[in-house]
């Protein structure tokens, strides 16, 4: 798979002297759905802001499409890499939904028709078409979140970066957002980078995980590789997904014969029903015998 964004030895120091990144390395592959996990203050937001050049590193480099970020014009980068911040209120700029989604495309100096078709498309993708004329302050939290995403989609980016997009949403809102993101990722081929604190989302939706701690990426890999051991994650102030916690307890405390650690409900179901059926079968076999 081609590498879309390559982060090499990124060091960042905030003006007050906080060293928020201490040499972070990360590969983002084209078309993947990458989760970035890490405790509060581990540097997730700081790293993300480097990926589209909002922050400049002290040393190290970000390579986008095999060209270093500083060789791009800023507007080119912003066109390719869109970013959705945590608080939707910080992002919705115009008084109405339509105007807000049109803000980016207008700045690309497109024609009116092109702008409107992009706005409509973007609103369609986040399922907010009928809200086009609404005032921004009349939206609910989850709705504002979706408009933020639409605003970025209207610029037709190749990569979308989201900083904790699900915090503060109800379970239904989380499901909707995740569905939208999954569709964008799978159907439109948009690379998605997703910083979050909810480990439970990760194995269900993401292809790969990067874990940050104290300003560096300490682990990178598939959820199956990363979520193997609760002890190591605890040191990083994280935890296993709940299902994995249960399965770990069953495996280690109750000595049930579970080999790989299931992470999602689907996997756990498979594993457990397998286990019980096998037992059942043996038992069956035994009784026939």
């Amino acid at each position: 798979m081609t590498i879309k964004i390559k982060v090499e030895g990124l060091i960042h120091k905030y003006p007050d002297g906080t060293r928020a990144l201490m040499g972070a390395n990360l590969d983002v592959r084209e078309g993947e759905f990458l989760a970035i996990l890490g405790a509060n203050g581990s540097g997730k937001t700081t790293l993300l802001k480097h990926l589209n050049g909002l922050l400049k590193p002290v040393s190290g480099s970000v390579i986008l499409d095999s060209k270093t970020l500083s060789a791009f014009k800023p507007s080119e980068v912003f066109r390719k890499v869109g970013m959705v911040f945590q608080d939707p209120n910080d992002q919705l700029i115009a008084p109405t939904v339509e105007e807000d989604v049109a803000f980016g495309p207008t700045n690309l100096n497109l024609g009116y028709d092109e702008i409107m078709s992009r706005v409509n498309n973007a609103l369609e993708l986040v399922k907010m078409k009928e809200f086009a004329k609404k005032a921004i302050h009349a939206l609910s939290y989850g709705q504002s979140k979706r408009i933020c995403i639409a605003g970025i989609l209207a610029m037709q980016p190749e990569v979308i970066i989201l900083d904790e997009p699900t915090s503060g949403l109800d379970p239904d809102g989380v499901k909707t957002i995740m569905k939208i993101l999954n569709d964008l990722n799978k159907k439109q081929g948009i690379t998605i980078i997703f910083a979050t604190n909810s480990v439970d989302l990760v194995p269900v939706h993401m292809d790969r995980v990067a874990i940050m701690d104290k300003g560096i990426v300490v682990q990178e890999g598939t959820p199956e590789r990363i979520f193997t051991d609760s002890k190591k994650l605890e040191g990083l102030k994280l935890e296993l997904p709940l299902i994995a916690q249960l399965m770990e307890v069953l495996r280690d405390k109750e000595k049930l014969p579970i080999n790989s650690l299931p992470l999602t409900i689907g996997q756990a179901k498979h594993e457990l029903s397998h286990l019980f059926n096998r037992e059942n079968n043996i038992q069956h076999a035994g009784s026939i015998e």
Partner: protein, 260 residues
Amino acid sequence: MEILKHIVMDHFAQRSNWLTNIEVRVKLFYIGIGLVLNILSDDIMLPLLFFITSLLLLITIKVSFITLGLRMMMPFLFGIFILVIMGLHTGETVVFSGTIFGYELALKREGLQIGLLLFTKVAGGVMLMLLLSFTTAITKICMAARWMKIPETLIEVLSFLYRYLFLLIEKTETMMSSQRSRLGYVTWFKTIKSFGSLGGMLIIRSITRAENAHIAMISRGYDGGRVLTVQLTPLARNDYAMLLSCGILLVLLSCLRFFW
């Protein structure tokens, strides 16, 4: 925004070292008298002395030179500007003269001398101020202000403003980033427009925050009374000692002038 990011930081004052631990009233007394002596001085020695001693004191607590330099830059430029202005307007002995854009200009020696004095006063005065701000958190200053019977309302507004300044700076930065990442700052007019809506959002945000803060205050029993609570401890013996030695030092410094 860069300015704010680089400079509105009181983390040096939050640390604990021998300078931050000096009683705030003693520091204010010393700095206050120092500033007055500084502008009263009619030769460059006293301001220079203030500059050097304050700088040395700051070096003992390991203040970074970059931060110091950043903060000194603006006053220094101002000082040079004053040097030129005084040179152009005061005195008789012309050093250089000429016309620019058909406007006659002449730099004069006496003016330049006064300008130089002013320049050193800027250096000395600003360094004294920095000595205060690098070693004293704003809350301490608020407490001292209350002790000096400055109207409580003023102190409360000051502490509110200071408390929420950091938050608003952070919010504004995020809002600006999101405008920027949707190309809100590509041409001059777009930039101005983006700043306009940013200013508008800032007003709206600050007012909703004020409402929320007020609700939170009410729910903690606020009924229009005092906001700030922690008081200064009364001056202790070593504070007096410090005060005394500062006083003696200042008297010595100002007497020293007569022997130059």
